[in-house]
């Protein structure tokens, strides 16, 4: 019996040291799920790229409900995973509770800022990426009118819209920018019907390029734009494939890069506040076979030049969230 206990104790000790020494990184996907064709899938691709390149392994979990956030964080921390990356601002509260309990574990949260000595907060300069696609929109537009359709009316989405309007005005100072928000409640993220109607309303006002920063609502925007024969611009991940030849480009948030960087740094990951902008490949515009015919070499040259200026700091795109004002467009 005592022998048995000793054996069990030894096995347990071994298992614990093994777990601690392992220190595999871990990633927690938000409710949308790993294969959501957008945010979470981009995060997964980043993690997978790291695994393919280094031959390492990582732990992962897809959340099924809000209640599991803290539980998932604690389980990975207890198991010795380090660093632990989570996708989405919804983790803020859970992380703020959990992080102080595991001072030796590094956490990375994407799209949100959480204070803590062991937390890396990664946010994206969506205004810079939107500026670039705004330039493309104004260059592609024949009517001189471009549209913006936001999801829920929150400062983050206005940040997209403001950068977009600035970019459009930079190319064509006389450009008319029509900005609409889908709604003020979370249903605004999943209301493609209203997205369609907004698109038609903007077309009626002369818009011939429409940028959707509206989650699921954007699917309706892209669909209606394709049906009506005008151009649209996707968001977050590369949505050019949805209507080949009819989506001008997509404003990409390189969530994959953020995850890849965190995983590559491993336990030595720097903590603190990190902004992913044009300068470090955090945001950009999508160019692939589906939209190659829509982007002329002149357009590409102009946008790449602007991107270089933003990267060097010569050109500063206004961030709506810094002072809650926007001179380029009225919401």
């Amino acid at each position: 019996m005592t022998l048995m206990t000793k054996f069990l104790g030894a096995t347990a000790a071994l298992a614990m040291t093994a777990g601690a020494a392992l220190a595999d990184p871990a990633i927690i996907f938000d409710l949308g799920g790993k294969f959501d064709k957008s945010f979470n899938e981009a995060a997964f691709n980043g993690a997978q790229r790291w695994a393919d390149e280094t031959g390492g392994t990582f732990a992962e979990v897809e959340l099924q409900s809000d209640a599991q956030r803290e539980q998932a964080l604690r389980r990975f921390a207890e198991a010795g995973n380090n660093p632990i990356v989570m996708t989405g601002f919804s983790f803020a509260t859970a992380l703020a509770d959990v992080a102080p309990d595991y001072p030796d574990t590094k956490f990375a949260i994407i799209d949100m800022v959480v204070d803590g000595p062991n937390v890396r907060s990664v946010v994206f300069n969506e205004n810079e990426g939107s500026y670039l696609v705004g330039m493309l929109a104004a260059m592609a537009s024949k009517t001189g009118t471009v549209g913006f359709i936001g999801g829920m009316d929150i400062p983050l989405i206005r940040k997209f819209g403001c950068g977009y309007a600035e970019g459009a005005l930079a190319v064509n100072p006389d450009a008319k920018i029509i900005a609409n928000m889908t709604g003020t409640t979370p249903t605004a993220w999943n209301d493609p019907v209203k997205g369609s109607e907004l698109t038609q309303a903007q077309i009626a006002q002369g818009a011939d390029v429409v940028y959707a920063a509206a989650g699921g609502t954007g699917v309706g925007v892209l669909q209606t734009a394709a049906d009506a024969g005008i151009l649209s611009i996707g968001v977050d991940s590369n949505q050019n494939y949805m209507h080949p030849g009819q989506v001008l480009t997509s404003m990409m948030k390189r969530v994959d890069n953020a995850v890849y960087d965190a995983f590559s740094a491993g336990v030595d990951m720097e903590t603190g506040f990190f902004a992913m902008g044009v300068a470090n490949g955090g945001v950009g515009y999508a160019l692939d076979d589906n939209n190659a015919s829509l982007i002329t070499p002149e357009m590409k040259a102009a946008v790449d030049e602007a991107a270089a200026k933003i990267a060097s700091g010569e050109l500063v795109v206004h961030d709506y969230m810094s002072d809650e004002t926007c001179s380029a467009v009225q919401f």
């Binding site: 949308g32 799920g33 957008s38 249903t187 019907v193 309706g220 669909q223």
Partner: protein, 322 residues
């Protein structure tokens, strides 16, 4: 506001009103028979998903429509079973259906198509395309009437015309047929109907089934008519606005048409802040327009504009005297 802009707004009104109207009439049948139904939202969602998914798989929008109606009928069956057969609370059963639909549709869509809870985009015969009414192009250049006919009346999907046709049909069925009289009676005084030797349970199940068919068409219209596929939670609260319209209409078919067109018009107007500003010369907050349907319903309910009296036996399970 010029004439063409007005027509565009009204055109949008018609598209926005159609799902509301179908759901509102669905609720009308159910509630007139004494079964409150706050599960309209969930039924529409199930129908939207199944019509989108089946239309994609089969390539035919009509099979999709049937599947959508079938799914919505199944949800109606659950509601009927819970609230008629087992005499459960109708509100709780309705809420349960809404939750069930919200979860089930995304889960099924994810496991079938793995596209983040939506169905693949529909093309060609897998979606309802706009139909051009006869002579629409020929009459286009006739002043006043031409644009009205071409822009507003012609060029919608067939389900829009179906929805409009259901209004007089509902009125006729409810107020001019024996079945309609019995259906209304079962919502006012089921005991009297039972005394006359008519089955209360069967009448109520029939009403709930009609409700299922109409919400099925509403959901299919959203996924295959207005859109080209299902997206999670795409009904976005229209089932609740339809309920508000039902109260606003005081449970009458023609009033339901007026209420839904009014609510649709407010929604369409909210899409065009520029039009409001140029017409009224003041800036009206879009949020106010979005909230107006609810504000109007509260005003009606508070009794400022006539009283809205629901069917008397509504919400009460019928228990036969022993």
């Amino acid at each position: 506001m010029d004439y063409l802009t007005l027509l565009q707004v009204l055109d949008s009104t018609l598209r926005m009103s159609t799902p509301l109207l179908l759901a509102c009439l669905a609720g009308l049948f159910s509630e007139r028979a004494g079964i409150f139904d706050i599960g309209l939202e969930g039924k529409m969602l199930v129908a939207a998903f199944l019509s989108g998914a089946v239309a994609f798989v089969s390539g035919s929008v009509w099979i999709g429509l049937l599947a959508g109606i079938g799914g919505s009928l199944a949800m109606s069956g659950i509601h009927g079973l819970a609230s008629i057969t087992f005499r459960g609370n109708q509100l709780i059963s309705g809420v349960a259906i809404n939750f069930l639909a919200a979860g089930l549709t995304v889960l099924a869509a994810q496991s079938w198509f793995a596209q983040g809870g939506r169905t693949p985009s529909l093309t060609g015969a897998a979606r309802f395309n706009a139909i051009e009414l006869p002579f629409a192009t020929a009459l286009k250049d006739v002043p006043v009437i031409g644009p009205l006919y071409y822009e507003l009346i012609s060029g919608h999907t067939i389900l829009v015309y179906v929805a409009l046709a259901v209004v007089p049909l509902s009125w006729w069925v409810l107020f001019r047929t024996r079945f309609g009289l019995r259906l209304r009676a079962v919502g006012e005084n089921p005991a009297a109907v039972d005394t006359a030797g008519i089955s209360v349970v069967r009448l109520r199940f029939t009403a709930v089934a009609i409700c299922g068919v109409l919400t099925g068409i509403a959901g299919a219209y959203m996924a295959t008519g207005l859109q080209a596929g299902f997206i999670k939670d795409m009904t976005a609260g229209r089932g609740y606005i339809a309920l508000a319209a039902l109260i606003f209409a005081k449970w009458r078919p023609w009033h339901a048409l007026t209420a839904c067109l009014l609510f649709g018009f407010l929604q369409a107007l909210a899409l065009r802040p520029d039009v409001i500003e140029s017409t009224l010369h003041i800036k009206v907050q879009v949020q106010l327009l979005d909230a107006l349907p609810y504000i109007l319903t509260v005003i009606i309910l508070a009794g400022f504009v006539g009283r809205a009296i629901p069917p008397r036996a509504g919400g009460e399970p019928y228990v036969k005297e022993r």
